[in-house]
Symmetry: D2
Amino acid sequence: MFPISFGSDNHSGIHYTVFSALQKANVGFCPAYGDDPLTQSVLSQLNALFGGACEAFLVMTGTGANVLSLQALIDSFNAIICAESAHINVDECGAVQKGTGARLTPIKTPDGKLTPELIAPRLMGDRDQHHSQFKIISISQSTEYGTLYTLEELKALADFAHAHNMLLHIDGARLANAVAALDTSLVEMTMGVGADIVSFGGTKNGLLFGEAIISFVPELTTNMRFYRKQLNQLYSKMRFIAAQFEAYLNKELWLENARHANAMAQLLAERLAEIPQIRITQKVYVNSVFVTMPPAWIPVLQDRFMFYTWDEARNEVRLMCSFNTLEEHIDELIAAIRELM
Amino acid sequence: MFPISFGSDNHSGIHYTVFSALQKANVGFCPAYGDDPLTQSVLSQLNALFGGACEAFLVMTGTGANVLSLQALIDSFNAIICAESAHINVDECGAVQKGTGARLTPIKTPDGKLTPELIAPRLMGDRDQHHSQFKIISISQSTEYGTLYTLEELKALADFAHAHNMLLHIDGARLANAVAALDTSLVEMTMGVGADIVSFGGTKNGLLFGEAIISFVPELTTNMRFYRKQLNQLYSKMRFIAAQFEAYLNKELWLENARHANAMAQLLAERLAEIPQIRITQKVYVNSVFVTMPPAWIPVLQDRFMFYTWDEARNEVRLMCSFNTLEEHIDELIAAIRELM
Amino acid sequence: MFPISFGSDNHSGIHYTVFSALQKANVGFCPAYGDDPLTQSVLSQLNALFGGACEAFLVMTGTGANVLSLQALIDSFNAIICAESAHINVDECGAVQKGTGARLTPIKTPDGKLTPELIAPRLMGDRDQHHSQFKIISISQSTEYGTLYTLEELKALADFAHAHNMLLHIDGARLANAVAALDTSLVEMTMGVGADIVSFGGTKNGLLFGEAIISFVPELTTNMRFYRKQLNQLYSKMRFIAAQFEAYLNKELWLENARHANAMAQLLAERLAEIPQIRITQKVYVNSVFVTMPPAWIPVLQDRFMFYTWDEARNEVRLMCSFNTLEEHIDELIAAIRELM
Amino acid sequence: MFPISFGSDNHSGIHYTVFSALQKANVGFCPAYGDDPLTQSVLSQLNALFGGACEAFLVMTGTGANVLSLQALIDSFNAIICAESAHINVDECGAVQKGTGARLTPIKTPDGKLTPELIAPRLMGDRDQHHSQFKIISISQSTEYGTLYTLEELKALADFAHAHNMLLHIDGARLANAVAALDTSLVEMTMGVGADIVSFGGTKNGLLFGEAIISFVPELTTNMRFYRKQLNQLYSKMRFIAAQFEAYLNKELWLENARHANAMAQLLAERLAEIPQIRITQKVYVNSVFVTMPPAWIPVLQDRFMFYTWDEARNEVRLMCSFNTLEEHIDELIAAIRELM
């Protein structure tokens, strides 16, 4: 048995409702590659959930969802604007460049959030053949810092993108957490603000594996299914992603799980705020808490709990909650910290 | 409920032992990306199973396993020799070219099997800068035609490859079926013949998803883990592939499933051989039966059973068995055929 | 000083008219990358020469012209049909795959020429996500065997391509030789037959360097200039390719050079036909002569003349004429052969 | 006739000595692709000029030289550190990403120069599979801002690179200008400081076209010739690049041209410094002068002289001298400016 983890929402397992759905789907024979009614039904449900004027695709991993979303919309001579801290820039081992041949233009941000003001100076107005042509603004919602774009901020970015002949991509590995935190809806947060393509993460929020890509520009993404195969994201026994998503969408499990993870992070933050030696470094919106603590504490706590140092220079660590974080996990962590005081 | 399928081994579900293993693994927290003892243990078991002088990697899909196996060993200026009917040439939407930038050199074969004699005339002996440099002979065992290389034939290909400064890759999506059919062992069929890199399929043989890559040249594949991430094949909650493989290896479930599928295909072939209007077109070694039948029968049967036409011009269809094909499924098919006679 | 060469039309130098044009252009300053009136004028002349409804692009090399012509029209999930002997398949070290990520589907031909009959069986009628989607038929005119497509054959291929939602690409490294041989015009041979994109070679026919790409689907190739830069084919001091092309087009130097090369090949073939031990293996249409000869002769002749063995097994050599082949070069070769008789 | 240009060293033509060398080489037949003694001799001369322990390759363009230098040393999962202003980051339309699939990590600099201090915080110490693996520090000497690394600074970067298991690449499109300005030698500036791979530009300094790549790690760049073909940089009539380089190396024409261009820039800067409304914004080391001037002047001057605005927001323009800039060109510009005062 592993210790309690605040290391990543990837350290969590499979929600039991999702697991039951897998079991239920494991009956008899079924056409592969999505040619089955369950997959078609789930795609329709996703379509409806995101406002009805979109097309949904099921893929295997979050990195795959990002690479495909971008590949479907760009040519190799395009450039993708992202935050320097973006998952696509930092944590995907160059999967976007490998997959698309395109250039990332990372921009330094204080909190993981891009703004039109940060982007504007980087745009080359002309169509000069020497420059990668800007085509995409890619953001994460929630961000890698656990911060959030408001709906107004999202709309401003989408409008800015469209005004400059670009498209807005949202890496929504934690989109559910964002919707929960802002108490809005998936459709308001995506189609409502003018986003063009969005991923809707499942793996970090209770699924065994599986992510959805939602294209709000289906006329531009007609080739997605070819790229999905060519970039190793087409799952043969598709019914089993579909079954998970059906459970995920049913009774808003995705939202319930995200709310729980967010609430646990709020609780954790409140409890940590009581410790004088600990400073919370980013406002807590979703399921992560960034704190600094005395450096000597870190290895001691890591003997008993999984979590990662975020910025070694600052003794900053990231504590992450997920759908299966319990109050007693937080109690144990706080107790362990209090022992160190 | 879907009808009985002889369409693909992908139409089957998850073996219940594998499913139980998933359930057992779904407890508490666990480090991601393979940094957990279950994954490490499974990698050791795979290492042992394939002779001890290799390195194993867990990936998500069969196409991914092929692309990674090749990418890890080649540069973009290399050429890969394969049969014209090879999965990498026909059924992966160009994933190898996209992933590696390298050239496939497909060779026409009568039965899906390459031989040194077929390859030799295609090799350019020199190191001319105008030509893609031959680096890999890639074969499938069993082949896409359901045929098999004998151990001697495999050894001849590996020796030929090495004599020409090339390496031998085996697409082993159905390696288990081949081992079962030849009544040999995994190690004899791979390391024993001098293969350099091999995939060991799980998805078509009872797993939910998951394939293993076995590198017998670990000194040449040290970069595999970076390519695995960059090509969208790194699974975050790796324990769940590991758990499936543990069940798959335990008591040789992989072999038992493959034997069953092969036996069902033999039975099916025997029963079909009794029908005068049906001709079996490829000797049945593993889990597929290729037959021609009166064209009028095909749509009628496809109303009740899933299966695919292989060669429309010849009225040839492919009937595939899997770990969950039952004798009564075959009885039903034969009965339906007899009704048509 | 090198011996006389029948090795390649690349062994020739620069036509003196072209050289003079370079000299004339080497005056003062000039905007780079094509933003100069000479380049613009040459592009207009090329446009007119090819029928007026096209767009011309100047590039540096023949391989570059091929890769760009294809890249501008395809996505990575597409397939390109070509003859097994095609330059893009054999002699470009995988430049197309590297540049585009797409699949080549090479087809065996008796004489380097594709036909609808050869292609038809290879087409998958559906839009299945597992298969690279056929998008281009790529041919060489004249072919690598020195053979020619008639205008009717070209039209049949273009019609076939369009009927199957594909486009026709012509590698015209030796397009001038083909026009000369068929006594037709550039526009009849390209736009007239329905070709979609064509290269018009210069380097093998008297230029220092420089090729033109002619797109008859300019609405589909608006991104060419970005790919030209991204694939290393944008020449900074563009005026110097333009100057060469101006000389090349003026008084039909391209045609005069090609006619001369073709005539020399005809003469050479006639003279060789008188040698009983020599057999001409391909009908001579353009500037190459393929012959078999006694194997002992080959190294002796290669001591005094440059030429290459084409097919070692058959003792077949290729003898190539160019714009600067002289009658006395042929006299010398024939004399040397007669000494060996 | 075009106006006088201070727009780019690409606006200059061909030095007459180089032109004569082309003429001299244009005699008879010659083997292609570098298999000729002139090319071999020039490669030997380059080898000697750069210290004898290297391997030289001739290519067609500066962008091609950069892409090839990097491709020969990296895998797609690697990262290349460069200045945000680097030509490979800004002006090559993503050629490096397209060619290599690798990630650029651009770093903001005040003056186009990287330092170990700027780089150190960006390095991930571990070999984590989620991150592109740092492999190259790529700098330009002289930089895009016309600034220079001292030999000590170069050595510090090379040492830092090697200490971190990386290699140092120098984009030497203007290496000659740097050597001239620092009054050092090519070998001291490259091998002497520990550089691993360097380009030695010709096109901007008097050649028609042609660049050399110098590899100081020839054991790591054995595949260069395949990449050169595959990335469209292999020139068929290679003797004509070789002839230009022979003239370029003879009597140090490269150095003479660079000294002249640098001296003209110094003179221009001195004359501009006398104009009160003009401010020189970067110290002038090589052949470029960056100045701000009253915005109303810029279009008036651009009517009579070619030059580009560098930073519109600051009214900053770049004035570039080349081997064929004359004192009277500067006189004319200054006179035109004085008319505006």
